[in-house]
């Protein structure tokens, strides 16, 4: 179980616990105090990522590592984004996350200037009753919001899965699970902050890892190129893919590309090592 499960899961996987979709995650703010800034946002954690990047770009790696360490210590006191496989995203939509509204991706808007104006373009999804008041903030929800039925939402997620996007739960702007985004490097803030700067608090690996059953695999290569985390590579000597369990984030994109059901999800809990690799 990841740190959010230990903290907020009440003995189960935290994103399967409905209370974590409620505002404030059971931690009431002090009167008059605003919500803590999410570390995943640009300039989160008091702007110290900007300082860390400045130090790194100038070749000052000591300051860089020191700043990142401080940021991560702060980040670990807050929930962070987590990778979730497609099947569990669909469960969330069916069981807990409604209402769901498709909308533009705030990261992609910022990093690439992308404008996603309708359902054919939207790549992010807001979850829960807070979505009903989206029109208060037209700039935040630039491009509008389209509320979807659970069936439509599942089809939309499957579309992005097929296109090779990693699904992630987000607490964008709040202390509760409020978003389910389809993400890729380098557009996605949390993926970039984890991969490029080592911020573990920004993105937690999924509860599972992917495992190849070589008896079922025929080496077709459909899974190649799907992994954004450099965990899956082709082994020319055996004509089969190899998944490094230490690097796997459990996004299951390799699994959903496999036509022979040769890749399965395995809980991290089954390994005495991987249960501590997040």
């Amino acid at each position: 179980m990841c740190r959010m499960c230990d903290w907020l899961g009440d003995g189960e996987i935290w994103y399967k616990n409905p209370k974590n979709y409620a505002n404030r995650m059971y931690k009431l703010r002090e009167p008059g105090k605003k919500a803590a800034t999410s570390i995943s946002g640009a300039g989160g954690g008091g702007g110290s990522l900007a300082q860390a990047i400045e130090a790194k770009a100038n070749g000052d790696m000591d300051t860089f590592h020191e700043t990142i360490k401080k940021m991560d210590e702060h980040g670990m006191t807050r929930p962070g984004a987590q990778v979730v496989p497609l099947s569990e995203c669909i469960d969330i939509i069916n069981d807990i996350g409604m209402p769901v509204g498709a909308m533009h991706c705030i990261c992609r808007k910022g990093t690439r200037g992308e404008e996603e104006n309708d359902l054919n373009q939207y790549s992010c999804m807001g979850l829960g009753t807070g979505m009903f008041k989206w029109e208060r903030w037209p700039e935040r929800y630039r491009g509008g919001v389209k509320f979807l039925s659970p069936k439509e939402a599942a089809e939309w997620l499957e579309y992005w899965d097929e296109r090779g996007m990693v699904h992630m739960l987000m607490q964008e702007g709040g202390d509760f699970i409020g978003g389910l985004c389809n993400c890729d490097y380098p557009d996605c803030g949390p993926i970039r902050h984890r991969i490029d700067y080592g911020l573990q608090s920004a993105l937690t690996k999924g509860e599972y890892i992917c495992d190849v059953e070589y008896d079922k695999c025929n080496g077709c290569g459909q899974c190649l190129g799907r992994c954004q985390f450099n965990a899956l590579k082709y082994e020319p000597t055996i004509d089969k893919p190899n998944i490094d369990p230490m690097e796997c984030y459990g996004c299951a994109l390799c699994m959903t590309a496999c036509t022979r059901n040769a890749i399965t999800l395995v809980s991290r809990e089954t390994s005495p090592v991987l249960k501590n690799v997040w």
Partner: protein, 90 residues
């Protein structure tokens, strides 16, 4: 150990006035070094991306810049300068 030094990237905001409408540098950068944001995010108000000054371009990930100069070449306003610091060439 190799020490990687990245270039200084300057944005002339007098020239770069409508970056969210233009977005050429944002989209061409291989490592997505830039970011763009609305200067004000007000309740009930949609920002006009064609009004100069409503959006601002920023250099968010300078440590990822390889000085390929594509952003400088693609900028229609000559607003970007990418230069290695003096120390690096010494």
């Amino acid at each position: 150990m190799y020490v990687v030094i990245n270039p200084n990237i300057e944005i002339d905001r007098k020239r770069c006035t409508t970056p969210f409408d233009c977005k050429r540098c944002l989209q061409i950068c291989p490592t997505a070094v830039f970011s763009v944001h609305a200067v004000r995010n007000e309740r009930g108000r949609l920002t006009d991306k064609t009004e100069p000054g409503n959006y601002a371009l920023a250099v968010s990930y300078r440590d990822q810049c390889s000085a390929c100069m594509r952003c400088v070449e693609v900028c229609p306003a000559d607003a970007l300068t990418v230069e290695m610091p003096q120390e690096a060439s010494a």
